[in-house]
């Protein structure tokens, strides 16, 4: 990856796709794409046109002269259907990119560059998601049409309900494993970790089941009052205890100290009051408490769920004075329960009747600024399966005067008033809380009351009562059970509100998970085995017949690649050996590379010369014997036995021994030779002064070779050397008439 020349790529991509004016490549990065079980290299690129971004996956083909072709695999608009997630950060960073039903998994090296690429992508996707409506992706369609797989994303979105649709996509299908490409050695099989992780993500539905949990969401603007009353009338009015409590307060403390130092004794007081009033039939544990000035959010969970809560994180955002301070804003708690991520946001948006635009802006600021940096890239509110957003959102009733509103309230004609509710109006115009839902309001406005009573505010302002305190949610499979206010609590000028939800969360079925995990592992094991190097050798025993001194003999060993992957073989050393074969053996080639279905002829040549003869002469029998270890890189070892019989010769014998033998050496048996060698007492009556072999040679030269030019200066002819050897070993001097070359 590091050798990637991006400067070469820019013009190539531009030329290839005839970029029109306005389209420019924002960033480009080489990554590894994991498809099924295999890894292939891809180029990711962000291309911008008039503020809208396209995410491209390029398949770059390289020839010897550089880039030979570039194809678009995918072209996705970066909109609110586009998602990028970092799934793990081990040795490499794994990132999933999701667009509609297509999910791609990429691996990137851990580096600053990677991190900046991811966060850039993340930032752009976030910005793009926010201004969805204003973005024009028409320019992208020509590329989508050209993309190899892009169309399937489009087609698929129309049948997204069809089960198993994912299987038809190239990413989920094993048929797409480019076997021939693996076989050519161009596509390595993916690392086990990532392959398993990827397969498990694809099969998530098969090992999770849904379970309904009851969530109590409460919100109350307490107007700086201390908790002087029991909260049971708010928190435990239902017959059954909820599984999760998320309780938000606003204006918990209106003191300067709280505002300036974010320090408040009220936190403890209200926490204590809440704990005392939780449902008596349930035992609860506090998951988290987060507070910013007067905004406080406490989350409790029933004890039986504690073990399944993970990755708890909190964040706060002030949108008050100067757009930063904590008199207004939001606080959030996120966590995973089983396999589902939840986020609770307690907000206190800008006040004053006419300031609804300010409130919309506060909402957007909280959305973009709440961030949980323990994840990479940091998760934001929208990155959760379920979001519950509540608090004193401060939206009022406009266009109706206070007496009319109060009159309508008396007849319970809430719907008639809600037509003029700013939140409903802005929501309808899609200016705020896009994709959120709110239940039908069947309770009186919660603001503003005379403290300590159920009477509407009697101060001079005479404002129209309003539903300032609201609960909204976002996510699938969430059912609101009730939505209500609690008029019994009178200590504030607001009434508390609560909502109950039955929400489906995904739970891992441990048994199914194990089973599927095992299946994936087995499949991978099978694949791993299938792609193990496999060879056949035509024999494991190479037998040479008689081997003579200085006479080379060779035999072939055929190594055939019978497996599915290229094989790298090598003859390797055995323990404590200095070489992979004996010095009388030569293997050519001793290492090599064989493509599947092909074979390699290895030549084994035996050649005994003066260096190895001595040792062979003194060996027990005349056996040439070696076991070769043929090692397949990443695979098994095969032992090849090489044997032969050495025809011993006077060459390589000690002079002492030769001088004690008065017959040609081959006329005595090996056993006799050995006795002679070992036992100095077993002497021939009288040893020669010099070995007869030396005498013969010198004598012969003296008789016939004195006139030979360059005597001792040029080497003997090989054939003649062999004749001399036989003459000396067997004693048939007639053959030697004219040989004087050595």
């Amino acid at each position: 990856m590091s050798t990637m020349d991006y400067s070469e790529l820019f013009p190539k991509i531009q030329a290839k796709f005839k970029f029109t004016a306005g389209e420019n490549i924002v960033s480009i990065y080489e990554v590894v794409l994991l498809e099924g079980w295999v890894k292939t290299s891809r180029i990711l690129s962000l291309i911008e046109n008039c503020g809208s971004y396209g995410f491209f996956v390029f398949n770059v083909f390289r020839g010897s002269a550089g880039i030979s072709d570039i194809l678009i695999d995918y072209a996705f608009p970066v909109n609110n259907e586009f998602k990028i997630d970092v799934v793990s950060e081990d040795a490499d960073i794994s990132v999933t990119v999701t667009f509609r039903k297509v999910k791609l998994l990429f691996e990137m090296m851990t580096s600053e560059k990677t991190k900046s690429f991811i966060s850039e992508l993340h930032k752009i996707s976030e910005i793009s998601a926010e201004k969805e409506n204003s973005l024009d992706f028409a320019w992208l369609s020509k590329y989508v049409n050209e993309a190899t797989y892009g169309r399937s994303a489009e087609d698929n979105s129309q049948n997204s309900e069809v089960n198993g649709q994912l299987e038809d996509l190239p990413t989920g299908s094993e048929l797409m494993v480019p076997r021939h490409s693996i076989a050519r050695g161009t596509t390595p099989i993916a690392g086990r970790e990532s392959a398993v992780r990827y397969q498990m993500t694809l099969k998530e539905k098969d090992y999770t089941y849904t379970q309904s949990i009851r969530i109590f969401v409460g919100t109350w603007n307490v107007n700086g009052q201390p908790p002087t009353v029991s909260l049971s009338d708010w928190l435990s009015v239902d017959p059954d205890p909820p599984d999760i409590y998320a309780i938000g307060f606003q204006e918990l403390d209106l003191s300067k100290e709280a505002f300036l130092f974010n320090d408040s004794p009220r936190e403890e007081e209200w926490l204590g009051a809440v704990i005392l009033s939780l449902h008596p039939k349930g035992k609860y544990s506090k998951v988290s408490l987060v507070r910013l000035v007067g905004m406080m959010l406490i989350v409790f969970v029933r004890e039986q769920h504690v073990a399944y809560i993970r990755n708890v994180a909190t964040d706060t955002v002030g949108t008050g004075i100067m757009g930063k301070l904590g008199n207004k804003g939001g606080v959030a708690v996120r966590f995973d329960i089983h396999n589902t991520s939840l986020c609770f946001v307690n907000a206190h948006l800008a006040a004053h009747v006419e300031e609804y635009e300010r409130r919309n802006q506060d909402y957007r600021d909280i959305c973009s600024r709440i961030s949980f940096p323990k994840f990479l890239p940091p998760k934001t509110i929208k990155d959760h399966d379920q979001v519950y957003w509540f608090g004193d959102l401060n939206y009022r009733i406009t266009e109706l005067d206070a007496p009319t509103v109060k009159r309508l309230i008396e007849t319970n004609s809430y719907d008639a008033i809600l037509v003029y509710d700013q939140l409903k109006q802005n929501f309808k115009a899609e200016r705020v809380f896009e994709k959120y839902k709110e239940g039908r309001i069947l309770f009186k406005p919660t603001y503003k009351y005379d403290t300590g009573s159920d009477e509407w505010d009697s101060s001079e302002k005479n404002r129209a009562p309003a539903w300032c305190d609201r609960v909204l949610w976002k996510g699938d499979k969430i059912k609101q059970i009730c939505y209500r206010s609690h008029a019994e609590l009178k200590i504030s000028d607001h009434k508390p509100v609560s909502a109950l939800f039955d929400s489906e969360i995904r739970v891992i079925d441990a048994i199914k998970y194990r089973k599927i995990h095992e299946e994936v592992m087995k499949k991978l094991d099978r694949l791993e085995n299938e792609f193990l190097p496999q060879v056949m050798v035509d024999t494991t025993e190479i037998i040479f017949d008689k081997v003579h001194f200085l006479e080379a003999q060779s035999k072939d060993l055929i190594i055939a690649n019978t497996g599915q992957v290229p094989v790298q073989f090598e003859f390797i050393k055995k323990l404590d050996d200095s070489s992979y074969c004996k010095d009388w053996l030569h293997i050519e080639p001793y290492m090599g590379f064989i493509m599947p279905g092909e074979k390699c002829d290895v030549k084994l040549e035996i050649y005994v010369d003066k260096r190895s003869a001595c040792e062979l002469n003194s060996s027990e029998d005349n056996k040439l014997y070696d076991i070769l270890v043929l090692h397949l890189e990443g695979g098994k070892d095969i032992f090849i036995t090489v044997t032969g019989t050495y025809v011993y010769s006077c060459f390589g014998m000690s002079l002492d021994l030769l001088s004690r033998i008065n017959v040609p050496i081959r006329e005595i048996t090996k056993a006799e030779l050995r006795n002679l060698e070992k036992n100095n007492d077993y002497r021939q009556s009288d040893p020669y002064a010099i070995p007869k072999e030396i005498w013969f040679l010198v004598d012969h030269l003296y008789r016939n070779g004195m006139k030979q030019h360059h005597l001792f200066e040029q080497p003997g002819l090989h054939a003649e050397v062999l004749l001399i050897r036989d003459w000396l070993d067997l004693g048939v001097p007639e053959h030697l008439r004219i040989l004087c070359h050595c």
């Binding site: 998530e204 494991t540 003859f571 055995k574 270890v629 043929l630 032992f639």
Partner: protein, 213 residues
């Protein structure tokens, strides 16, 4: 994603040793494939198999080296002992000679592995009851005297095969937890970080200096 760890956290190297024909390859095959190979050819070389098992909640990848049992390969197979965390020493309960050779196999194992290597003695072919040639008690005593773990197993029926491999892994895992096995030692036979598929080569594979004959 809440899930137990996806992949293994340790790799243990095992070797299987013992006389020819005692059923080493069949034991490996039974363990990795849960099948009996009825006409298994003699191993000429070293085969290997892997399987991932669960020990004390940890996923462990066993990398098993099945060696040739023929006497003539003995010197070569000695190369493969180094760095084994577990050694499965196999004899044939129906052939006494294979049992008699155990002390020699044990000597090799002790000499060529490190002191923390777990040695597990397996008396194979326990299904052939009427051909029994070595009493359980006798082998048990041999195992006890030498501090070996021991079972009689059958690669044919699968009886005790899983146990032998898994018990060995448990013992190794215990040694790691007790600190008796030093993970940093190059020859511990245990790798903590999972590596790419494939294996570490055992012997030094620098090429032979060019042969000048």
């Amino acid at each position: 994603m809440s899930a137990p760890p996806y992949s293994y956290s340790y790799i243990f190297k095992y070797i299987i040793i013992g006389d020819m024909g005692v059923g080493k390859s069949c034991l490996l095959h039974q363990f990795t494939e849960k099948k009996f190979m009825s006409d298994c050819p003699h191993t000429i070389g070293v085969e290997f198999g892997t399987r991932i098992i669960d020990v004390c909640g940890q996923k462990i990848k066993l990398q098993i080296w099945d060696t040739a049992g023929q006497e003539r390969f003995r010197a070569v197979t000695r190369s493969y002992y180094r760095g084994a965390a577990g050694a499965l020493m196999v004899y044939d309960t129906t052939r006494r000679t294979t049992y008699n050779h155990l002390s020699s196999w044990l000597t090799d194992t002790r000499n060529l592995t490190n002191p923390s290597t777990v040695i597990f003695l397996i008396g194979n072919k326990s299904d052939l009851k009427d051909q029994r040639d070595v009493a359980y008690e006798e082998a048990k005593q041999f195992a006890d005297e030498n501090g070996l773990m021991f079972v009689e197993a059958s690669a044919k029926t699968g009886d005790n095969v899983e146990e032998a491999f898994v018990e060995t892994a448990k013992k190794i895992f215990q040694c790691i937890q007790d600190g008796r096995l030093d993970l940093n030692a190059t020859e511990s036979g245990v790798q903590h970080k999972p590596s790419q598929p494939g294996r570490q080569t055992l012997t030094d594979q620098s090429p032979k200096p060019s042969c000048s004959c």
